[in-house]
Amino acid sequence: MPESALPPQQNPPVRRRRAAPSGPVAFVWESVLLGWRWLARMRTALYLLLALAILSIVATAVPQEPNVPSTVTTWREGEAGPGVGVSRVLDAIGAYDVYGSAIFLAVLLALYISLTACLIPRIKAWVRLVRRSQPPVVRHLGAQDERTDFVTDRSPAEVRAAAAELLGRRRWRVRRHDANDADPRPDQVAAEAGLWAREGGSLVFHLSFYVLLAAIVLGQLLTFEGQRGVVEGDPGFRDTAVSYWAYSPGRWFGEGDHQGWRLELERFHVDWVRDPLAPGAGQPTVFRSDVRVTPADGEPFDAVIDSNRPLNLDGTRITQLDWGYAPRVVVEVDGEVVHDTFLTPVITDGGFFRGAVKAPAADPDVGLDVFLYPFAPDGEDGRPVPTGAPWADAPLLVFQQFRGDLRLGATQQTINELDVEALTSQGFGALRLGQSMELEGVTITFPELRRWVGYQVSSRPQVPYLLFGSVLLVVGLLGSLYAYRRRLWVVTMEDGAAPRTLVTVAGRSFQRPEAFEEEFADLVAELMAATGGAPAAPHPDPDPQTPTATPAVETTR
């Protein structure tokens, strides 16, 4: 009597499946598994990419603190932007520093976990495919996309040898099959190509993102970037940690990693299309520095830094970032010189340059808010007319004089800005080059006008790795889009009626059928030429006993 026919209570005790583990550990483990599976889905990856895109839009629409801290300050204080309330919300979600925010890092991390979860099974499957797969032997050729028949005088074995040789030369995987009792499938050469290149290309494409990420992380640690302005003819500056105006080293970039060279600006060349009616009026035409570099242990040499030709010093790159006019301003109080240096004012939207003189040596402090109009020719009434033109044919230095407390060190201020909180205005003045004037006991002289250039000095050891990752990316992309997997069979059969061989070539492609069509025609033509074949009508199926319902190819997908 079968057990199932017994009444339930007489059934042998069923061995209970071990109870699923429960408790907090199991809960955590199951959650991890669930999350992993969720991350492994393509749809999830697409959502994460979308999130990344949205974040980058936010970062474009909202000023970013690492790039434009002053704009962010104005937003926070409500002077510009959507107002203080919205600004607080933006701050809370990290919108002022999107690429350093927790949300961005979380999305990036999730994306990489997702990529990993997606890739691990794919790599396993791909390795299995490459190692184990061999071209399937076909039973009958009716179902193939491409098929051509021809006849030849050569023996079937010769034709198959020629086909195998031809396909092998073209780097197809070739498998010969001779019919026997156990396996009645017809005599043939089966071949497959593009088996690993397409999926392999896709894998290389995706793996290149790990290379890029590693290079970027490495870069964050090892990189160094500093900015420094240099006035023409000045002693310049030395490559040390303290000499940069803005300095952002990576975590692993130590002070000893600086090379200690000295950079001097001998002359800066800049010019524009000056004819206001000419096409491209006002555009710069030259933007070049002649510099002198003195290595830490070596002879000084001259070099040129151009827009697209930065100076390379042992992996440190010096790029021209911005420039301005550098007026020399001398300030005397009671016959004593309290300020005599070149200013480095920066260009504004109005076409003039704005800077500041800070002379704490005077008592009380002297501060000048300086506006330099490079081209302000005298008008008909003899008064200067400022224009927006950048060439220094008629420079005019306009300043507002302050006395009081500069609050140097007490507040954060840039070299081109005065903190007027504790200063009192004493009036305005305007000077031509070489002129001098006295205002409330302070003598201001404008004896000289030079130019200054802001240089960016950067060391990026990660760039070669990034380049390597990019090459991998493109190569993988090409493979994944343009490689195509296809199979081909050359089936031979002796003609019962005459001493000749009937040859059938058939093939199918998994991707890019239009490309395979041409390749197929090409292969057939070559095989016919090699075996002296002549076109023929489609041959009967070589193995008529085979039921037609049998699938032609065991598909691997």
């Binding site: 895109a53 970062a59 491209g280 035409t285 933007f287 697209n308 790029t319 990019s470 493109v474």
Partner: protein, 407 residues
């Protein structure tokens, strides 16, 4: 010849010569398309029209290339320095690649008209940003520029062609679905084999009877000699055509196109000097796109099978994606040389990144089994909106490092 004359000549070659030739070729090709599904006596005229269209297209391309050469000579540099030049070259690349692909690779010359129409639209758009020839800023004067810019411009042109194919696919697919739905209501509820009404002869479709075919037979001179069977078939065909067109509601299409274009063209609205100028440009762009959509709707019955357009969209997108990837990497390399950093999330860089993500999304959607056909085509359309949107926004709205080149 002085550079002024050269500039004038290049301007004339651009407008009206090239624009008119493209439009003319497009109209002739589209006419030829209508004859491919018609009666045999019309096919001969269609072939003639196709040949004429081919001649016009070649003339147009010649004029366009001549324009680029003369413009280059007039300003003594490659014409890739500002937005007008880039957009114009984008149209040229799109037209040349699209025509060669259709004519020689896919052997579907009947679709040439749509590529030319797209080219004419892009040319017209470039007119909105016309700039007189001028010299180049020193920072752009390097071999990096043609390398980086022409790759991206080429990619944009091919993306534009892919957009045309996606849009045509959606039109045709919508029409076919609507016809199938209609038939399943009036017929036995099955949608199998609904793609072609002409193969059903049991009269379950009522439209052919309602519309006598007399109006159409008058157009051809020897129509009277056709035998009645042929005539009936023709009438059914016309009815099917009408059903297909009805499948795409014109009002809905027009509103949808207007709103879809507005997703991009609002940029003109907000950045023009005056309200009226901005509104004028906005409406010009939108209404032109609506008109193009309505023209395309009229041609829905003559479009090739949806699978063809689907394949064309996929292949062109894949090609453009490679160009875009390499062009963006080249841009990063140039930025490393020129600005001392390879990637700084400048608006233009963000735009390139967003476009890359959008088209990567399209290719992934195509690669997985979940999203096929309509879903993928909509993603393709959305990706093109991202491309055009970021292109215009980064040039007009948010000023970044790239914008000093106005490109």
């Amino acid at each position: 010849m002085g550079s002024d004359q050269l500039a004038e000549l290049s301007r004339l070659l651009y407008f009206p010569t090239t624009l008119m030739l493209y439009l003319g070729a497009s109209v002739v090709y589209l006419y030829a398309l209508t004859t491919t599904v018609g009666r045999t006596d019309q096919r001969e005229r269609g072939r003639l029209a196709q040949r004429l269209g081919g001649i016009l297209a070649v003339l147009g391309i010649t004029a366009h290339v001549a324009h680029e050469i003369f413009r280059g000579l007039a300003q003594d540099r490659l014409p890739l320095g500002n937005m007008f030049e880039v957009t114009s070259l984008m149209a040229l690349v799109g037209v040349v690649v699209g025509l060669i692909h259709l004519q020689f690779v896919r052997r579907r010359p009947e679709l040439n008209g749509f590529v030319l129409l797209g080219g004419a639209l892009v040319l017209g758009m470039a007119m909105l940003m016309y700039a007189e020839p001028g010299p180049l800023m020193p920072i752009l004067d390097t071999w990096w520029r043609p390398f980086h810019v022409s790759l991206l411009v080429g990619a944009m042109g091919v993306f534009a062609a892919a957009f045309v194919f996606n849009a045509l696919y959606l039109l045709r697919d919508t029409a076919e679905l609507a016809v199938a739905a209609e038939r399943s209501r009036s017929g036995g509820g099955s949608t199998v084999g609904a793609a072609y009404v002409g193969d059903v002869s049991d009269g379950s479709v009522t439209e052919p009877a309602a519309d006598p075919p007399t109006s159409s037979s008058g157009s051809s001179g020897d129509g009277a000699e056709l035998d009645p069977d042929d005539e009936r078939e023709h009438a059914e065909l016309l009815a099917y055509h009408r059903a297909l067109r009805r499948g795409v509601p014109a009002v809905k299409l027009a509103i949808g196109t207007f709103l879809g274009t507005a997703l991009v063209s609002w940029v003109w609205l907000v950045t023009a000097d005056t309200w009226s100028a901005g509104l004028g440009r906005f409406l010009t762009v939108n209404l032109t796109m609506v008109a193009a959509a309505l023209v395309a709707r009229w041609f829905v019955p003559f479009l090739p099978p949806t699978a063809t357009m689907d394949g064309l969209a996929h292949r062109t997108t894949a090609f453009a994606f490679v160009l875009w990837t390499v062009g963006t990497i080249a841009g990063a390399m140039w930025a490393e040389v020129s600005w001392g950093r390879f990637w700084g999330w400048d608006p233009k860089e963000t735009g390139a990144f967003l476009t890359w993500i959008a088209y990567a999304g399209y290719l992934h959607a195509r690669a997985t089994r979940g999203v096929k056909g309509r879903g993928a085509a909509w993603i393709g359309v959305a990706a093109f909106i991202v491309l055009m949107g970021t292109y215009l926004i980064a040039n007009y709205v948010i000023v970044g490092l790239h914008s000093y080149a106005d490109l």
